[in-house]
Amino acid sequence: MKLLEILEESILVLKTNRMRTVLSVLGIIIGIGSVISLITLGEASQQSVKERIQSLGSNLITISPGGTQSGFLRGGPDDAKTLKYNDALEIEKSDRLTTVDKVAASYSSRAQISFQENNMNTNVIGITENYFSLRNIEIEYGVGITQKDIGTSSKVVVIGNGVIEELFTGKVNPIGQGIRIDGNSFKIIGITKSKGSEMVSSDNSVFIPLTTAQKVLYGIDHVTSILVSAKNEELIDPAMNQLGYLLLELHGIKNPEDADFSITSQEDLLETVSEITGTFTTLLTGIAAISLVVGGIGIMNIMLVTVTERTREIGIRKALGAKRKTITKQFLVESIVLTLTGGVLGLLLGIGVSLIITKTMGLPSVISITSISLAVGVSCLIGIIFGWYPAHRASKLQPIEALRYE
């Protein structure tokens, strides 16, 4: 008997018992559905995290004060004062750093800012000229912080989009207005463009010249980070190396293990986050996969019932010359058609659910070939595994005994 004919017949049998078919594959539908939606969600969130991180600036390398092993004595990176503005200037000046494009330094702290009677507590970041372009921050109105502002430590400020909502409530044009930061009066010269819901949002920050923050507001001479961009993606690693050696030299440190700074790239961050979301997705998918096993047992159950119900039919078929192999094939194909039906319905359910969730969460929706082939492959496999025993049992029936079955 040809496989195609067996297939035709199986589909016919399952069609005549439509309700039962759907109910018996419910476990598979739900199982495949949840696995597909979880995989899709995992991929979507990973992609979105990637996009957000990349939006912070591409090819970006961050140098932070304090060593990588933030031990007891060394002090955490937060209060390490080992990075100076001078380091940034040296990096900029050095002609050994062939791989580096732009450099910026920043000093960030929190402070009270106020306009008239409104006030808020927010991030105040002292920056150098390249900071905005390195962090992919655009100026929507007015101008940014220039080298001149830094040279003169002028009291000018560029404010984030979110700050306007808090302080100005849309009544006055903020450009040219004065606001107070820790009691010092600053003139607003620009407003940044909103970055939306991004992970490290600049919307609620205000930016002032680095030198102003250091000398006028806080009286310090260190910075909290130096940002460097590599000339292109391939040069990120060489650039990190070159930066490392230059800074060791500048700080007079011989052993790289004693470094009083740490260098990380956007790539490192990306990898860490991907790893975390990946583990999470795998875990959830694993749990969903358990429901597939339960679904498979449901299939086995219904197939055993089918075999018992159709004992007489099996007897007739064997009496007319069906071989054991043929009977096994017939019931195995039926079971596979059953689970495959479940798999396809589950796939549709999964795609539907993940589309809804990604839409409402504003994630990019990626429906991958992987998940489709996974659904098809896994459901076939379940059909084979859990259909085998009932099929085997059917094939073992003795013709005359099967015929006597009422």
């Binding site: 007897g315 078929r317 064997k318 071989k323 013709p399 005359i400």
Partner: protein, 229 residues
Amino acid sequence: MIPLIDVKGITKIYNGGEIATKALSDVSFEIEKGEFVAIVGPSGSGKSTLMHILGCLDIPTSGTYIINGRNVENMNDDELANIRNKEIGFVFQAYNLLSRTTSIKNVCLPMIYAGIPKTERYERAKKLLISVGLGNKLFNSPNQLSGGEKQRVAIARSMATEPSIILADEPTGNLASKQSMEIMDIFDELNIKGNTIILITHEENIAKRAKRIISIMDGKIVNDTGRLN
């Protein structure tokens, strides 16, 4: 010449429940190729039991059954299936048609297992059903057929793979005498073509059309006319 069917000392004991029933006891006979045999006997005498053994559907408790020179005992499942499919056409007392399946598909079934292509299958099934007078019931399923009609579908099916042996358990049991005679005409024709026919009947005028009558009572052969001419 070796006989087509060689039964030696066959005993069949059913161990259903607490009581064991001896349906056949020490039955022996030979049937040559091309014979037309009727098996007669009262109800419960073991006729169907014997027929199932001859049809390779059941195995005897003891004794040997040699078909076409081959001992059934030594054949595996697939070989037996092959014999049931190609050598023997079986008409069951209880018809044993697939319910919810049309007459034509029922007749096609053994041909599927014989590997006959689809179009030829349908062609042949149609011809056979017409020959048993069911040309107008090709697409009815068994529950839309009368007892006699079902019996005729079963007969058509038994001839589907053109087997050399036809085993028929009360093939005319539900038929009016005119239809019975038509069916017997078909068997006659097959027999003339060289097929071996073995049928069970309790009707005298049916048995008379056979060329040999074996009478059974209480699981034993009580009379065998031998080949009549």
